[in-house]
């Protein structure tokens, strides 16, 4: 899966290339952080491509069914009225990002961002077809030949296939994927479904195949405000200039310290592996997505030279200044900033969890009939009409009993049992009447009670106003 090429000095002449070139040819890298990244590529993509096929109670387990305006996530069904939970989810994501960035820099960018993940997949395909960095650069420099055309066509063909499958999967989260598959097979796909599959597929192909680091450098808002979340104790990919400089190539046998040289052999491999094409030895730059490819690459060079690892490593500004070891760095992970982020995050997650577990599987909206304010019946009773919108948010059908209270003698006319199938809404017109002297003139507070006959725990009391003349 990954390159076993040794970072050897024969790549030295390429050093001048990165300074003048525009297209970036990231060299494949292996090592601890590359393994982490690949684990996350697998994890996120098995989740993304697989989850939409998982069934749950005769439906798709995770489905954001836009056409029905219902979101299904395993046993939970969300309605537009639940936008509160969407807001909570966004707040949790934001605070997680703050917390992770404060601790470990751009962990999201380097390991889990879809841009990184798909670029990694597309680079792997590119490497399988065109070879690693040097053969790719050579191929691009060649005039067009049958061989070059075949390689390029194969690469773009596979890229487009992956892009389209990604687009199909994406749309499959918004329309049931099994019926979508049927439509694809029978070529009866709706115009908008086909459009969005191609749109998302093309975006994947363009972003991961062509745009790559430009998305991070020019389009990503997060890259621009990341520094707000950094502090001197944030772990970032750092080049140890004090140890590395003065850099320079040397023979392995040379006593470089006696010759006045630092540990950096200036092999430029850290630059070659960089997906955004920067030189980490110039210090922290906003282009750095924190992918740690340079750490893996440099460690391999250090091993070859029999120098200690970690010339480029995760470190903090304070640690560099005060020459802290691993222990002090870890001790500074817990600091007021991260503790505040952490506590707020835990509170919100707990509140959201409690809210979800206490969420009523029944929702009722009461709207007064706009047609008439009240009606006097022949027997002298006063009648008001209401629209009750009853939402069964649960996964089973329920029968509901309606009741009303709040005034002496108030009752529902033509009382009946309301039956609502699972995950459905029903609008019911209800006439309520009460003796004329049962309340004050004007609006009186009354309550509608909706109770499930199948499960007495499911009950909702909703207030309304009753107008008396």
């Amino acid at each position: 899966m990954m390159s076993e090429e040794s970072p050897a000095p024969e790549h030295l002449p390429e050093q001048s290339l990165y300074e003048v070139r525009e297209k970036i040819y990231p060299r494949a890298v292996t090592g601890l952080f590359a393994t982490w990244r690949w684990s996350l590529v697998w994890f996120t993509q098995v989740l993304f491509y697989g989850l939409c096929w998982l069934p749950w109670n005769d439906r798709q387990a995770v489905l954001f069914e836009l056409a029905e305006r219902k979101f299904y996530i395993f046993g939970l069904i969300f309605w537009p009225q639940d936008i509160f939970y969407l807001a909570i989810l966004l707040i949790i994501s934001a605070y997680s990002l703050f917390l992770f960035t404060a601790i470990g820099g751009r962990l999201f960018c380097g390991y889990a961002c879809p841009q990184t993940v798909y670029t990694e997949i597309f680079l792997w395909i590119e490497k399988k077809i065109e070879g690693d960095r040097s053969p790719r650069m050579k191929l691009d420099g060649e005039p067009l030949s049958a061989r070059k055309f075949a390689k390029k066509a194969a690469k773009h063909g596979v890229w487009i296939a992956v892009g389209l499958w990604t687009g199909f999967t994406f749309v499959g989260y918004f329309t049931p994927i099994r019926s979508l598959m049927g439509e694809v097979v029978s070529l009866s796909l709706g115009p908008w479904e086909s459009f969005w599959i191609f749109f998302y597929g093309f975006a994947t192909y363009g972003n991961a195949g062509w745009m790559r680091e430009q998305v991070c450098k020019h389009m990503c808002p997060y890259a621009r405000f990341q520094s707000v979340m950094f502090d001197p104790d944030t772990l970032i990919v750092t080049y140890d200039g004090e140890r590395g400089e003065p850099r320079g190539s040397r023979s392995k046998k040379l006593d470089y310290k006696a010759a006045g040289k630092g540990d950096c052999v200036d092999c430029s491999i850290c630059v070659q592996v960089c997906p955004t094409g920067i030189d980490i030895r110039d210090g922290l730059q906003y282009e750095c997505i924190g992918c740690s490819a340079c750490i893996d690459a440099c460690d391999q060079v250090m091993d070859k030279m029999d120098y200690p690892r970690g010339l480029i490593r995760y470190s903090t500004e304070h640690a560099m200044q005060q020459k802290w070891g691993r222990k002090e760095i870890i001790a500074h992970v817990l600091r007021p900033r991260t503790m505040i982020y952490g506590v707020i995050l835990m509170l919100i997650i707990t509140a959201a969890g409690v809210g979800l577990s206490l969420r009523s599987p029944l929702k009722v909206n009461v709207i007064r009939d706009r047609g008439a304010l009240f009606r006097e019946e022949e027997n002298g009773m006063i009648e008001n009409s209401f629209h009750l919108q009853i939402m069964n948010v649960s996964e089973t059908a329920h029968r509901y009993d309606l009741g009303v209270s709040g005034l002496d003698g108030i009752e529902i006319e033509h009382k009946r049992i309301i039956e609502i199938p699972s995950a459905a809404t029903q609008s019911v017109m209800v006439e309520v009447h009460t003796p004329p002297k049962s309340g004050k003139k004007g609006y009186n507070r009354i309550y509608f009670e909706v109770k499930s006959l199948d499960d007495e725990k499911i009950a909702v009391r909703e207030k309304a106003s009753f107008l008396l003349p």
């Binding site: 836009l66 537009p80 936008i83």
Partner: protein, 91 residues
Amino acid sequence: MKRLIWVLWPSFIVAGIAEILFFTLIDPQELYLFGEPVNFSRTTVYSLGFFAFWAICAASSLLTCFIQRDSSEVNSCMIAANCESRVGRKP
């Protein structure tokens, strides 16, 4: 190319947010078009809605790009004849 990204990309993000907020609160089937209830499918309205939001936001971004040119850029192009000579002139 850079300008194209400046116009199309931020408007794409904002259109996405606007789309989510608008259609969470409003059911497409409750909308009226020229006094008639909208009888397209929800998917169609969502898609058209997104492009409408995108177009409006892109228009705003375009105007921002247009206005943010500094005075030297504007002055050099006041007269069409000047435009080429000044832009072409080396400092």
